[in-house]
């Protein structure tokens, strides 16, 4: 498929005027940012699209029988199969096109999964699908635990976070392991496009979705999506946390095109003016899952959180070719 590779320009009004393809009336909790992420993603489509989704909050809340919130063709099978579904859909579209039975010139395929369906359960399917080079966009909305089944820890849960399977108490101070750098793992698969995004920087998010769709071959988009229920935070502040995660460099925004790392605007500004980098406590404060880190005996955990954040930020700057300033 040949498509003009001109840059997609849009105003806030253009996006607000676009009809929602992820409809109101879904049964998500109040203040659920993953639904904001899905609404925004569905506004960045460029044509006919098929969405496939792994089990997770967003699958459950959007398709409670007999209601559906999807205004596009949508498929759900099992927890581990988002990427496998996407490869099957893409292969079927290819076959239909070869036989001349496809009405459209091109159909985009988007696979959506949460952190459980990406980091842990769906990982082998994802790894296989991108290795086979199917042309699809994989969107990971990362709310940092299995929120759907009651806040169990996942590979995406940061160290120190209290979940129901890693409760903070006298035995352990929350999760003991670090968050898996999934986006870097996807870059290591040598796929054409990998990016991280945060819904507060919605323009950046929309551009990255569009880029991921336009690119030939697999694309991976990691979106941070705060969950007020699971993070034990104020529901009104969920979008604010998606901003603070970027400002504290806990979740820096970058994209890797053909393995070439590049910082996105919001994080680049921090790289150029390091005094703008905020301490991680700004992000952790107010989140109930990190409340125990602020007690005196857990001071070392708070310092460790800052240390791993700085360490990963330094490594990212080196990959992006930006010299790290103190």
């Amino acid at each position: 498929m040949e498509m003009a590779k001109q840059e997609w320009k849009f105003t806030t009004k253009d996006i607000a005027e676009k009809p929602d393809l992820f409809l109101s009336g879904h049964r998500a909790c109040a203040g659920c940012v993953p639904t904001t992420v899905l609404r925004l993603i569905m506004k960045a489509l460029r044509g006919p699209t098929i969405v496939t989704q792994a089990t997770g909050c967003m699958e459950v809340v959007s398709s409670i029988y007999p209601y559906t919130s999807w205004a596009v063709p949508w498929l759900h099978t099992a927890f581990e199969t988002a990427a496998a579904n996407a490869s099957g859909i893409e292969a079927a579209l290819k076959a239909l096109k070869r036989k001349g039975r496809l009405k459209h010139e091109h159909v985009d395929v988007i696979a959506i999964a949460g952190d459980g369906g990406t980091y842990d359960i769906g990982f082998q399917a994802l790894s296989g699908a991108v290795e086979r080079g199917h042309d699809f966009l994989f969107v990971l909305y990362d709310n940092e635990a299995y929120m759907n089944t009651g806040i169990q820890r996942s590979g995406g849960t940061p160290k120190g976070a209290a979940t129901t399977t890693s409760p903070a108490g006298t035995a352990i101070p929350g999760k003991l392991e670090y968050k898996k750098p999934i986006a870097d793992i996807m870059v290591a698969h040598e796929i054409p496009y990998v990016a991280t995004a945060s819904p507060y920087y919605w323009r950046d998010l929309l551009e990255k979705v569009r880029k991921g769709l336009e690119v030939e071959g697999p694309a991976f988009l990691h979106v941070l999506a705060p969950c007020p229920r699971g993070w034990r935070s104020d529901q009104a502040k969920s979008i604010e946390y998606s901003r603070l995660a970027v400002e504290t460099c806990v979740f820096p925004l970058w994209e890797a095109v053909n393995g070439q790392y590049q910082l996105s605007v919001a994080s680049k500004l921090i790289a150029l003016a390091p005094q703008k980098k905020r301490p991680v406590t700004d992000y952790l404060q107010g989140q109930g899952r990190f409340r125990h880190l602020f007690s005196p005996q857990n001071k070392h955990l708070l310092e460790d959180f800052q240390r791993i954040t700085d360490e990963r930020w330094r490594r990212l700057l080196a990959k992006c070719g930006v010299s790290a300033k103190p």
Partner: protein
């Protein structure tokens, strides 16, 4: 929808969802409702984009925004993110 419930022979097989969720009103979940100060609002439309429920609509013909209280769950994201603090949450 017909008055009679469909039998199992008539419904879509394998649990295919057949109705749009816009017929399921989630507005009665809320305790607080957003109220907008028309003077302060600059129509920046950030609330339209950030609303998790798509309950704030941009009405082109009025060139103004409108809350859809049928779907608003009262989370307060719009009030928190409003750059001019034109939205306040009031008890319903």
């Amino acid at each position: 929808m017909s008055a009679r419930e469909k039998s199992w022979k008539e419904i879509a097989p394998a649990g295919v969802c057949s109705r749009t969720s816009t017929t399921f009103l989630t507005g009665d979940w809320k305790t607080y409702m957003p109220v907008r100060d028309l003077e302060k609002c600059t129509r920046c439309l950030l609330c339209v984009l950030f609303c998790p429920d798509g309950a704030i609509h941009w009405k082109q013909e009025k060139s103004d925004i409108e809350f859809d209280y049928n779907f608003c769950k009262g989370c307060g994201i719009c009030a928190n993110e409003c750059p001019t603090k034109a939205i306040t949450m009031k008890v319903e």
